[in-house]
């Protein structure tokens, strides 16, 4: 590569970089900076009042906590699903494969209505959980369920291609050298799929933080308990408090950015540790 610096597939580094930056500016950077500009029309005391009142802080905890738990659940079960889909052949596999994408395609409001119908105390699953003392719909647990639902495809779809590329011979070789199943998984498979797994986690997590449509139907929206931050933003808009709404939005943006940045950092660090640095 070093002695042929101009042999890129797309011609003109400057031109393509220019387009990339213009595109990013129009789609992402300009709208987001408008959010910050609007938020900064507030003075410091009002800004703090808007973003740090107990009710808003409770909503941050719920939004980020439930998103994190949802994404973790998806890592475990998404990996399992991806494994089943790549390693086994069974009747109806193509259907199962297609089902994975459902949460992508479904309008989130439909998901919310369906989930709250099933998990409410008179619903099909909710009525069975009720005697056990487990309430899902209209509690924070319902938020986790909704966020797990919408995040499922991300982990499956990022891990699946990597698993497909991973040849079974490597595992057989490891086994023939005396590795047990756990060692094969831990030393051979996991390092290979680790970056994809973390990418899937980050995508599911990020998607969950911004989710509104499906959650409001199942959350119950009780202040201090089951109110997510996007609802707080809508609430503020409903009072014509544009500046307050954008202030909370700006705080969410900053927290999300820091978290995603940290996840990327963690991915980079763990890749090096697992000796997978290409």
């Amino acid at each position: 590569m070093k002695n042929r610096p101009n042999k890129n597939t797309l011609p003109g580094f400057n031109l393509s970089l220019g387009y990339a930056i213009l595109y990013l500016s129009l789609i992402v950077i300009i709208p987001l900076s408008a959010t910050f500009l609007k938020a900064f029309t507030l003075n410091w005391a009002d800004f703090w009042q808007a973003v740090a009142s107990p009710r808003v802080v409770a909503s941050y905890k719920l939004t980020f906590g439930a998103s994190f738990i949802g994404a973790l659940i998806n890592v475990v079960f998404g990996l399992l699903t991806a494994w089943v889909l790549t390693r086994y052949h069974f009747f109806g596999k193509k259907f199962v494969d297609a089902f994975v994408d459902f949460p992508f395609a479904l309008p989130t409001a439909v998901a919310g209505i369906a989930l709250s119908a099933i998990y409410s105390t008179h619903g099909w699953i909710g009525s069975r959980l009720e005697p056990l003392g487990i309430h899902v719909a209209y509690t924070p647990l319902g938020v986790v369920v909704a966020l797990t639902f919408i995040g499922l495809p991300f982990v499956v779809r990022t891990v699946q291609p990597v698993l497909e590329d991973l040849s079974a011979e490597v595992e057989e070789a490891a086994a023939s050298l005396g590795a047990n199943r756990w060692q094969v998984f831990y030393k051979i498979i996991l390092p290979a799929i680790w970056p994809a797994l973390i990418t899937g986690f980050a995508l599911a997590f990020a998607r969950a933080i911004g989710e509104y449509g499906s959650v409001i139907f199942i959350a119950g929206n009780m202040p201090m308990v089951s109110e997510i931050t996007p609802l707080i933003i809508i609430t503020k808009l409903e009072q014509y408090d544009y500046a307050g709404a954008t202030a909370v939005a700006a705080v969410m943006l900053v927290i999300s950015f820091i978290l995603l940045f940290a996840i990327n950092g963690f991915q980079w660090w763990s890749n090096r540790r697992l000796g997978n640095n290409r």
Binding site: R55, S120, T121, Y138, G220, N221, L231, T235, K236, Q239
Partner: protein, 336 residues
Amino acid sequence: MKKTLLSIVLVAAVLNFAAVTLASAKEVTLLNVSYDPTRELYVDYNAAFSKYWQTKTGDTVKVNQSHGGSGKQARAVIDGLQADVATLALAYDVDQLYEKGKLIPKDWQKRLGHNSSPYTSTIVFLVRKGNPKNIKDWNDIIKPGVSVITPNPKTSGGARWNYLAAWAYALKQNNNDEAKAKEFVGKLYKNVPVLDSGARGSTTTFVERGIGDVLLAWENEAFLAQKELGAGKVEIIVPSLSILAEPPVTVVDKFAKKHGNEVVAKAYLEYLYSDEGQDIIGKNYYRPTSEAASKKYESQFPKLNLVKIDEVFGGWTKAQNTHFADGGTFDQIYQK
């Protein structure tokens, strides 16, 4: 082939042009931006108005409807949705069209009769068939063990009426003691397991999901729910006191002027006060304001003590700031 096609298009265009110039009648399109539960009302009313306007002027009017939460709809108009008329749930939202958008004059509410409210409504209770929890009045629904469904007053106009109705009842019971009223409403909201974001959402939660013992609802929603959604499953209970909800209407001057629709937009709202308009209002379970129609639909609407927001709360702006703004009484209930 190409030539014939071209000539066909040309002939069609000429004919079309001739047709337009020959017919002196205009075709007018109005946009009415409204709130959630008026769907059925305006479907009926728009048909009646088109007919009336055509016989009167020869012009045909097509009215497009937009429905949603009252606050959201007002915001859409402020942000540029070019509504000719706005028919919202509360005066506070219409006030914002002046405050934030300067789309209407400050004294908009004086322009039409009855404070620009051609119809009124109130808040009633919807309970399960047979009223198993024996709910008769507001003090029954703050009892422990009664589950109450009402939307979030922060996001729903209807929910604000519910909240203020409860507050007004408590004031009356306790000689206008505001602290007692707050305690009363606090107890009421302790009994609320779900705060949906809008009135229709709450109706769904109560009727379809089967959650709660009592739903606080718009009178017209309650009738609708009783008739269509849960026939034989729910019944209406009328409390001893409730609030007189006056959903106001206004021409959005700036956009009507831009579209050249000022005259027809004004007529559209004025016709709501006519005999036919009032009759359609009564048929759709809103309370008519004209004497004749009020009398006609008297038996449909239960009699109860209705208090006005101006008298008890000093108007919407004040009520909004005291109760629903950030840090208001509603927030205080949840932040102890």
